[in-house]
């Protein structure tokens, strides 16, 4: 006679097996879209803030220190949100974390849109960062948990690819706002649009079902069966699941500390260290963005702040479209080459791209005179990053950790990445200034 533990494992295996082998349905795509709203808003928020800052400087008295703090609030909020959000998503469920992060994003965006001073914008951006941080581990876990095995890697990369879509959307929104209403207060509309998107996603996520793997992990097999029946459109296996519900969960629950246990610590290092390093390296190529935009005639030579910001928005949109192309290649390449080879190859190509930029900088007459090299290095670096590590680092934690600690692991890795971004954005410029 099977023991309670064997029954539990057997029924969890049933849920996992049915999800793995299920055919892809329109519902899968619908759930993917709703789950990917946070990564979309991540890209949107970063670009919207970048476009808004020159207008903010014109519209209100704001010191350079405050500008730096506002930029850092977004990233630091994400560090906090990712760490706590991953743990929360494992404890209270993916759906509750999804709704909470959109509510926080909405509150942060609303605060920015109606801000009377830089303090409100600072708090608002921190809240937006917290919301984005919570969403990162939740969306990666949820999407990988509901997708059939055959499309799991592609759809998880597609989730992080929406970051680039969000960037393009922010540039398009800015261009539309500047065309319809070119004033220095346009930053309110732009930052407020993020809140509108968050409200739409939050409302839609109320209809999103809880992840069936998480439900099974918690022993809620009847609920898992309901979600599964909607996804796979076959009631037959549900009897098996409902029967096994009588078996009490007998396995010892894993917690956040398990990430650093001998069993999982190498996996934790694998998902967090390369992601941190990638986010540091991302800063380096950002130094060349003004050169690239200037070469493409998206420089700020137009008269007036709004006109200059409009030009920057056009240039950003073009560069962001290119970043999206890298993700598209990543979606195609990951199932063919595997995550680790693609990540290793991506880092190698990023190094080569950076060497091209170094060569252009070392040349006697400066990088402006070697635009071909600069553009080649810039394109290679960004393409390799998005087709490689930027796609794979997001998808590795969900496949390397079990359901009980999947979001915690994803959150810890994302928090390390955001810490790397903080280093790249704020420490490296200090080093550069010191060197000058």
């Amino acid at each position: 006679m099977p023991t309670a533990e064997q029954n539990t494992v057997s029924s969890k295996a049933s849920v996992f097996g049915l999800l793995d082998e299920a055919p892809m349905t329109p519902l899968h795509y619908c759930y993917w879209l709703l789950a990917s709203g946070g990564t979309l808003l991540d890209g949107f928020s970063v670009v919207a803030l970048g476009i808004a800052i020159p207008l903010l400087k014109q519209d209100m008295t704001i010191t350079p220190v405050l500008i730096g703090l506002i930029g850092s609030a977004l990233v630091l909020g994400a560090v906090l949100g990712a760490t706590l959000g991953g743990i929360a998503a494992d404890r209270i469920g993916r759906k509750r974390a999804f709704i909470a992060d959109m509510a926080i994003l909405l509150a942060g965006s609303a605060l920015c849109a109606v801000a009377r001073g830089p303090g409100s914008i600072l708090v608002g951006q921190f809240l937006i960062g917290v919301g984005i941080g919570i969403d990162f581990p939740t969306s990666g876990s949820y999407v990988s948990e509901i997708m059939p095995r055959a499309l799991r890697s592609r759809m998880t990369v597609a989730t992080i690819a929406l970051q680039s879509v969000g960037m393009v959307l922010a540039a398009i929104t800015a261009i539309a706002i500047f065309r319809a209403h070119p004033t220095a207060t346009d930053w309110r509309l732009l930052l407020g649009t993020g809140g509108v998107l968050a409200a739409i996603f939050m409302s839609a996520r109320l209809f999103l079902p809880e992840g069936p793997r998480w439900l099974a992990e918690k022993g809620e097999f009847a609920e898992a069966a309901k979600v599964l029946s909607g996804l796979i459109k076959t009631p037959a296996p549900l009897t098996r699941l409902e029967v096994s519900e009588s078996a009490a969960p007998a396995t010892k629950p894993l917690g956040f500390a398990a990430l650093f246990s001998p069993r999982y610590r190498t996996r934790t290092l694998l998902v967090s260290v390369p992601w941190l390093l990638m986010d540091v390296a991302t800063y380096g190529v950002g130094l060349f963005t003004p050169v690239i935009l200037g070469a493409l005639h998206f420089d700020s030579a137009r008269t007036g702040t709004v006109a200059a910001v409009f030009a920057d928005a056009e240039g950003s949109g073009l560069v962001d479209l290119f970043l999206l192309a890298g993700f598209v290649v990543g979606i195609w390449a990951i199932p063919r080459f595997g995550r680790v080879p693609l990540q290793v190859g991506g880092f190698a190509a990023m190094t080569f791209g950076m060497l091209l930029l170094m060569f252009a900088t070392l040349a006697d007459d400066g990088p402006q005179m070697h635009l071909g090299l600069v553009i080649a290095g810039f394109i290679l670096f960004n393409f390799a990053m998005n087709a490689g590590p930027n796609a794979t680092t997001f998808t590795l934690p969900p496949i390397l950790f079990p359901t009980a600690i999947r979001a915690s692991a994803s959150g810890f890795a994302a928090a390390c990445a955001k810490a790397g971004a903080t280093f790249g954005t704020f420490v490296v410029p200090q080093l550069q200034a010191h060197g000058d």
Binding site: R149, R152, L269, P274, V344, M350, Q432
Partner: protein, 43 residues
């Protein structure tokens, strides 16, 4: 600028090495699972 770029190139190489090294150890310990739910670490 060149020092910063050199640092970034170094960081990219470090990412490559870290990925390869940790993935090698993980593959030795246990094959990389597509589901994250290998029987040996269920629960």
């Amino acid at each position: 600028l060149i020092a910063v770029l050199a640092l970034m190139a170094f960081v990219s190489i470090a990412g490559l090495v870290a990925t390869a090294a940790f993935a090698h150890v993980v593959e030795k310990e246990d094959e990389l699972e597509e589901t994250g739910e290998p029987a040996r670490h269920s629960g």
